[in-house]
């Protein structure tokens, strides 16, 4: 039993479907999140991200399929699941009229803490989230970033095993976003399992171990950021030439080794789509033989944006 609990994924959804009337919000979604890892859930507005979070946090039962969180079925053992999760929604769900401290104390008390324990836990979390100075102020006076930090702190009061972050940085300024990322990274370092929904690809790239792309309620791609990029996006070598006259010679050299290239004459840049790392050596050798010495040579990875656009394009074309 103990061993099972450790090897068992913290989130395990099998063929989850959820319909609202005629609208299918989730269409056979399966996913597994191992303990201590971060799953990034990417998708447009309306792709089904929030519905999936709602199903996994027991707020909406699945129409068909099963989902287990922290080892408990979301439908049968909702209360057990709710004791082990934290949820930070898209809109900071803290009481505006109460102080930051009162919000955290309230949650601790509801989770079963005594008055003194609750105050201690609140003080600890306020310190961790850099809110001690604002502890006695009503939340309505907080900035967006402070509110979001308090909201995350509120989700952590009960020492959850799994935390759901539904677009945690939407609407935050860059500094607050970075601060939020650091906090999430720290949580993961402590062994927390995180499910993160986001529209920002850099956020998923930076925080998530595994990424799932949702579109129209279906999983259209899953894997690490690198896998997704390798699968869909195209790596390429960009070579910036020293002189425009080098252009034709460089083009010919690349063609001789069986690769294609496009030449941006104005910027003196050659773009050569390649498959793997070995092609870099091939290109370097070919250019060297043609006595073309580029000013700059780089292997560029596709960005997640390329991946995301490619994937969502495919699905809308198929639909």
């Amino acid at each position: 039993m103990e061993r099972d609990a450790i090897s068992e994924p913290m989130i395990d959804a099998v063929d989850v479907t959820r319909t609202f009337g005629r609208v299918t919000a989730l269409d056979g979604v399966s996913l597994r999140v191992p303990r201590g890892s971060v799953l990034g859930l990417l998708g447009h507005n309306g792709a089904g991200k929030t519905t999936l979070v709602n199903v996994l946090t027991t707020m909406v039962p699945p129409t068909t399929g099963t989902a287990r969180v922290a080892g408990f079925d979301v439908r049968r053992d909702g209360d057990q699941v709710r004791r082990r999760i934290g949820l930070t929604g898209q809109f900071a769900s803290v009481d505006e009229d109460l102080t930051g401290e009162a919000n955290l104390v309230l949650i601790a008390r509801l989770l079963g803490a005594g008055r003194a324990q609750a105050r201690q836990r609140a003080a600890d979390l306020l310190a961790i989230f850099d809110l001690t100075d604002a502890a006695r102020r009503a939340v309505k006076t907080y900035s967006g970033g402070m509110r979001r930090r308090l909201d995350l702190a509120a989700s952590l009061v009960g020492r959850p095993e799994v935390i759901f972050l539904d677009e945690p940085t939407t609407g935050l300024d860059p500094v607050s976003r970075m601060a939020m990322w650091e906090i999430v990274q720290q949580l993961v370092a402590d062994g927390m399992t995180v499910l993160l929904t986001t529209q920002y690809l850099d956020e998923a790239d930076r925080l998530a171990d595994t990424i799932i792309v949702l579109s129209h309620g279906k999983v259209v791609a899953a894997g690490t950021a690198a896998q997704l990029k390798a699968e869909v996006g195209q790596r390429s070598i960009t070579a910036r030439l020293r002189a425009a006259e080098d252009g034709p010679a460089a083009m010919a050299a690349v063609r001789r080794v069986g690769l294609t290239a496009s030449h941006d004459e104005e910027r003196r840049v050659l773009v050569i789509p390649v498959v793997g790392f070995a092609d870099l050596a091939t290109v370097v050798r070919a250019l060297d033989e043609a006595r073309v010495e580029p000013a700059e040579l780089a292997l560029t990875e596709p960005t997640l944006d390329d991946v995301y656009l490619a994937l969502t394009d495919q699905t809308s074309a198929a639909a």
């Binding site: 707020m59 909406v60 949820l87 769900s93 009229d97 079963g112 803490a113 310190a127 020492r159 402590d190």
Partner: protein, 279 residues
């Protein structure tokens, strides 16, 4: 951003490996904590407290002046001053206003995400609803008591039923208001945080308050309003409260008022729980 701004020491950091120290709270704790939370801003916000106490007083002042001459009409009970006639009604209109606030409070919780958080926690739906209801009951008790005391001090309210009669009327008004509060809570959960709850609340409240025996005897109302007033639970409550205040035996009116309130509370709370758990 390499340096961390969080004084995160290993011990203070929230860790998953630490087993959860708490195993959920009981129903009573949940209700108490949530009711306290709902009441807190009422007492912390001096302005809000002042205005919620001011409202029944302004009503008392306005109505006692505007409708004063009603006491001289032949349909008005003989030997009763209008202020003694009016106070029981203001008890009920105030209690009804407090009842609509229950719906408004729930609506706010739905729109600002507090309810979503509570739903993601091991908190029972009934605790959330009962807490809201209890909080407004406490607020109503405070407002009605202050109103009665000031009516006696400022407006010369001195009915034949004495302190006991007035206290009984206050309790009855609270009971009726509390039961109506469940209807507004139900409305809030079914309308899902729509701002229409407030508008609807005001409409229903005005209908209940004016199409009743609150301000003038039912006999003095036009026929079609009389029809509404006669089935209006508020009329029964107000009539019974008036009897209590004026030192007359309240008779069956009191029983009817309590029965109707009980029925309204049962139906309202059932609808509220169903609406709360829906989705």
């Amino acid at each position: 951003m390499a340096t961390t701004t969080h004084p995160a020491t290993g011990a203070a950091r929230p860790t998953v490996t630490a087993p959860a120290a708490w195993h959920g709270s009981g129903l009573a704790t949940q209700i108490l904590v949530l009711a306290g939370r709902a009441l807190r801003p009422v007492f912390l916000d001096a302005g809000r407290l002042f205005f919620s106490l001011l409202q029944p007083l302004v009503m008392l002042l306005l109505f006692s002046q505007v409708f004063k001459t009603v006491a001289d009409t032949p349909m008005f009970p003989k030997g009763v001053s209008y202020i003694d006639y009016l106070v029981p009604a203001i008890l009920f209109t105030t209690a009804t206003t407090v009842a609509t606030q229950a719906g408004v409070g729930m609506t706010n919780d739905m729109t600002n995400g507090v309810l979503a958080r509570l739903k993601s926690m091991p908190v029972r739906p009934i605790s959330v609803l009962v807490a809201r209801s209890v909080a407004d009951l406490a607020r109503g008790a405070l407002e009605l008591t202050v109103m009665l005391v000031l009516a006696a001090l400022i407006f010369g309210y001195d009915p034949a039923g004495g302190v006991l009669g007035s206290a009984a009327a206050l309790l009855l008004a609270l009971a009726v208001g509390w039961s109506l509060g469940w209807l507004f809570l139900a409305g809030a959960t079914w309308l899902r945080g729509s701002q229409n709850v407030q508008t609807l609340g005001i409409l229903v409240m005005m209908l209940l308050q004016f199409a009743s025996s609150a301000f003038v005897p039912v006999k003095a109302l036009p026929g079609y309003i009389q029809a509404v007033a006669k089935v209006n639970p508020l009329s029964y409550g107000i009539n019974a409260a008036r009897d209590l205040v004026l030192g007359r035996p309240p008779g069956t009116g009191l029983v009817v008022a309590l029965l109707v309130s009980g029925a309204v509370a049962v139906v309202g709370s059932g609808l509220a729980v169903a609406g709360f758990s829906r989705r």
